[in-house]
Symmetry: C6
Subunit: 204 residues, 6 copies
């Protein structure tokens, strides 16, 4: 789609699906990294976009998961040392909360760290546990309608939300490829563009 293609044209941006007061919507999670304090200290996390407590915790869970499991998809945890990671969710004035952006945060950070782009046609939703399990979320129907409206063609959904697909209009379901996920490492594998040799020395 035009907007998600434009937004995800740089590493570190992933497309999530959210429930808002007015139905569902797509939301972009942007991550960027800067040299942190001198030395090799623990990575620092800066969070903006008027995120609520639960969504801030999701970012911490995403970072801890990547630090312990990131080497499963080529995100070397050692590269995180001494980094300052900034995660922002526009629009900046809209309060956002809830755990369902967990998979999107892991994916945005994995994209940033590997230098691989997120595929523009993919939207995703799902809580992530600290061990990387994908936990069920609410609002499946509104989220799939929003993904379809925004021109996305693939959606990654928690396996434990399979039953909620019954509520989605057939026309929308048929237009979308829905993947049911249990492990966030599989989410990342599906969502990122293949690595290219140029990405060996990526810019994170």
């Amino acid at each position: 789609t035009p907007e998600s293609a434009e937004r995800t044209a740089v590493p570190g941006v992933a497309t999530g699906l959210a429930v808002t007061g007015a139905g569902g919507d797509v939301l972009f999670i942007e991550a960027n990294a800067a040299p942190g304090a001198q030395g090799n200290g623990e990575p620092e996390l800066v969070l903006t976009g008027q995120l609520g407590d639960v969504m801030k915790e999701s970012a911490h869970i995403a970072l801890s998961y990547l630090r312990s499991q990131g080497d499963r998809f080529g995100a070397d945890p050692e590269e995180l040392r001494g980094r300052r990671l900034h995660v922002h969710v526009p629009a900046g004035a809209v309060p956002k909360d809830g755990p369902s952006a967990g998979v999107t945060m892991v994916t945005a950070l994995a994209s940033l760290l590997t230098g691989r782009l997120v595929r523009a046609e993919v939207g995703m939703t799902g809580e992530v546990s600290l061990t990387g399990r994908v936990l069920p979320i609410g609002g499946v129907k509104q989220k799939l309608l929003a993904a379809h409206r925004a021109g996305l063609t693939e959606v990654l959904l928690p396996a434990r939300n399979a039953a909620d697909l019954d509520d989605v209009p057939a026309s929308v379901r048929e237009a979308l490829t829905v993947h049911l996920m249990e492990d966030v490492a599989d989410v990342v594998a599906l969502a990122l563009e293949p690595a290219t040799t140029a990405q060996v020395q990526h810019a994170a």
Copy 2:
């Protein structure tokens, strides 16, 4: 049980028993460790899952206990230096509080530090004092019903809750092996799988 088996398939996850608005439930406490700030400083504790004050204090008590007594079950306190320990309790949006997850926190951290899995058929509940004593908790009936519903077959309970077992339906009591505990070191000994030689260089 399918779910607890899946959840506790990695070191650092223990199955607790909780009272919720709608009776009892099982809850998984997940712990993971990352290299902390450079050097050998004091371990840092990151807590997520919308934990209340009392439950956060339980995590600090669990860590202090392990630092002073962990060598009783092979968790070398020296290995904690310079670590960043993240303890998360899904589901991420559900507020949780109270002291009764104390034994579960000690067990999850002991599993993480020794690299030994928690036995999948075991659920537990109990407050822990700083010296490792297991103190009584509430909701024994609801918790045992929840353990049974979730397919667990062994429950670790504070000895001082022995009298509360009278309230549990006979069919449930018979289906469960209940251990009455006074010392959290015994909880850990009962709950962890035996050590294997492979775990000498565990991943904590």
Copy 3:
């Protein structure tokens, strides 16, 4: 105009457009840099002017953007290390909030870091995402009226606000050159005076 000319006569000051209780107004964003703590640590951000949460987040986004993209317009991120950046928005007692000063913050900091003045005849408004995209804002009509009243002759506006120009009186539209922007790097390129050789060793 007399006031914006006077205010932007030193590097680090940019002219923004804001909506207030009484219509629109121009507002000046001032940035200054001092040697921070010894060493080459991460830059520190001091924010004054009774800024609300969202506006403070805009400043953090501006800084993160400059750290990762600043070399696109000659703001060497390395020079930010160990700096203490103070961003102030007079008048000091008036509470201010919202994301629409994002482009002005990026411009003020870019001016400070390059030593190039902001052009006195330019006013600007727009939210900035972490990747530098210019996002739409509200109050286009009031902001353009205020720019005109203050004697500004060029206005930088988010491209996605193009439709809002219909609401602006023709006399005002004709008096102003309006640039529609998608990328904040273009905002900076348009807003800053050309570099002079003297600015190679600027004072930031």
Copy 4:
């Protein structure tokens, strides 16, 4: 008594007397020490048990007192450098406040630092000033009744509470040995078991 004997069987635990909504009660103050941050920095104090402001201040006063006067009873202040002292007061979910646990906190920490056990038959109450003076407290009657109920046989009380002993039933007074204290160093001397040679290399 069974409970206090069991609780005070390790160094660092002292038996206090408290007033609760339902009369008096005994309460155990537990202290433990771990290697703190690397180096010889100032000791850190971690406080748990839902302690109120005044009770937290008592712990800071106890620590400051021990740092400046601890050598009067063999608690070498130098050993406190670089330590992380955790003081916990079970039960973890019960809020507690007030200054009257001051003497008990000094005694628990003195026990921890010297490796000498607190005598199991002793309960105590009293505010402590920074210079070690024992200041009067309330609830003498309820506290002595609770001590008696719990099977304690010796009670340490502020000298300035002597008049309050008139309110205590004769049978209880006769069953208890009451010591009236002015200086917390005397409290510690009375409450700790004698040092043994084995305690020269105690475990603090």
Copy 5:
């Protein structure tokens, strides 16, 4: 005047003009410096006198201004490194707020750093921007009446408050020399006593 002469008899004290519930008043801003943490770190600012948010921000603006522009009047920014600057505004129990003490804070700190006394007959008021511009304030009439009552003979006022002088009774205006200021560097130049050779090694 007796009081301002006595108060400003040491470097670091400047006389401001304030509006209170009961008309205007003079207020003294006191600054002192101590060796801060070891090393050459960033100066620390300690603020007392029950200052509100806006007035605290004024102190930060004053410090940032002096760090970037102080060499214009002999306040070497390098000397600020590693210093702990304490700014106090008696009386200590009276809450104070607002931006109009900005020029007085710059002057008190400039006096402290140069070792030059503030002239006892001078009172001042004015907001300061980060670039040193003097911005208009309220309460001109009450402030000039208070200055006159307190025996001051010179008043430094923002140029943009010139029109407010019409409201001041002629007898008071004639008794006072009013200077209209645009740049806080001029305020400092007017307010400080001339430097003497003895001040080369001043005591800051």
Copy 6:
């Protein structure tokens, strides 16, 4: 008097005069010092006794004053480096606030730092400015009555409270020697016992 003699028998304790709900009272300010964090960093201030904001600020003012002027009465500011100063005001559960303990705080700290005792017969009250001026306070009548009741024979009062002495009953005024003070250095000179040679290596 018995109580103030007992309380001020160690260096670091001074007797203040306060207004309470029930008239006036004497209050003891206790200070003690411990080796702080390793190195020669800035002194740390720990404040207990349920002190309000204004009273906490008084302690910071007292410390800043001593750091810049302490050598006027033999309190070497260099000795403060790397120290942790604890100031406590019993009784620990009674909230206290207001600026009038300023002179007492300076005196207690000066006693601690010089090792000279505070004279047991002296009570004092007065706000202190950052430059050491003694500012007027309220409640003179109640405070002098309390001093007399407590058996004190000398009272140090701000000179600007001279007029309030008219309200004090003649019998009380005659029994007390009242000193009117303008400079807190004079307060310290009057309140401390003379130095002895033994105090050269005092215990701070």
